[in-house]
Assembly symmetry: C2
Amino acid sequence: MMKDNMIKIFKALSSEQRLNIYMMLYEWQMSSNTEDSSFRSFEEGMEKCFTKACCCMDLSKSTISHHFKELENAGLITCTRNGQSFNCKVNMETVEEIRNFLK
Amino acid sequence: MMKDNMIKIFKALSSEQRLNIYMMLYEWQMSSNTEDSSFRSFEEGMEKCFTKACCCMDLSKSTISHHFKELENAGLITCTRNGQSFNCKVNMETVEEIRNFLK
DNA sequence: ATAATGGTTCGATGGTTGTAGAACAATCAA
DNA sequence: TTGATTGTTCTACAACCATCGAACCATTAT
């Protein structure tokens, strides 16, 4: 993993709000994997995570949109449009690369 | 590990210069462990790392001092005064805690 | 005592970032 | 078609941050 990427990643996780979003996504993803989600493949990712995030957090839509883009740009999550909203999934490979970077 | 600590840590590592310093310290520490350092205990840490950092980086002393403090404040390194200069060591426990935070 | 060395602290400054709101675009429902 | 829902983009602003130089403090050497 290039150093510049690591900087982007650390920067993305260094904002309280972004870390909140990331942790929420992480936990939603974990729990949705054990719940009844047999109709939805893992690849599709969590549904309506933007909307859910907006409900949980006291921030404007534009700000939350901005934060999602930062997380995506850092490679921490991947978002795929699905009609009006989008689905989103945490990139476990990136998490693993951070762990490796830290020896 | 508290979330607030993680934010501090990520913030500390999200600056290019600070990440440079941290990586230098890390590598100095690793190499000094395998070299002839039989007279110096591990606990004492790397000697004159501030001076060494000043030589390697094109930044003013005050800026480098500031960055060292940020790394120390985040718990990533520990500095102990030794006369005029100080010794410094990377906190491996903190690295391990980041790895654990990332599942 | 005086000077030199190694870091720290302070104040200023320019750049970056987090945030909101308004206007917009795209999709869906009636 | 019209209106509602979901999210994006733009502009603006305040807060924060990286950086420097100067003045400073503490330790060591002369």
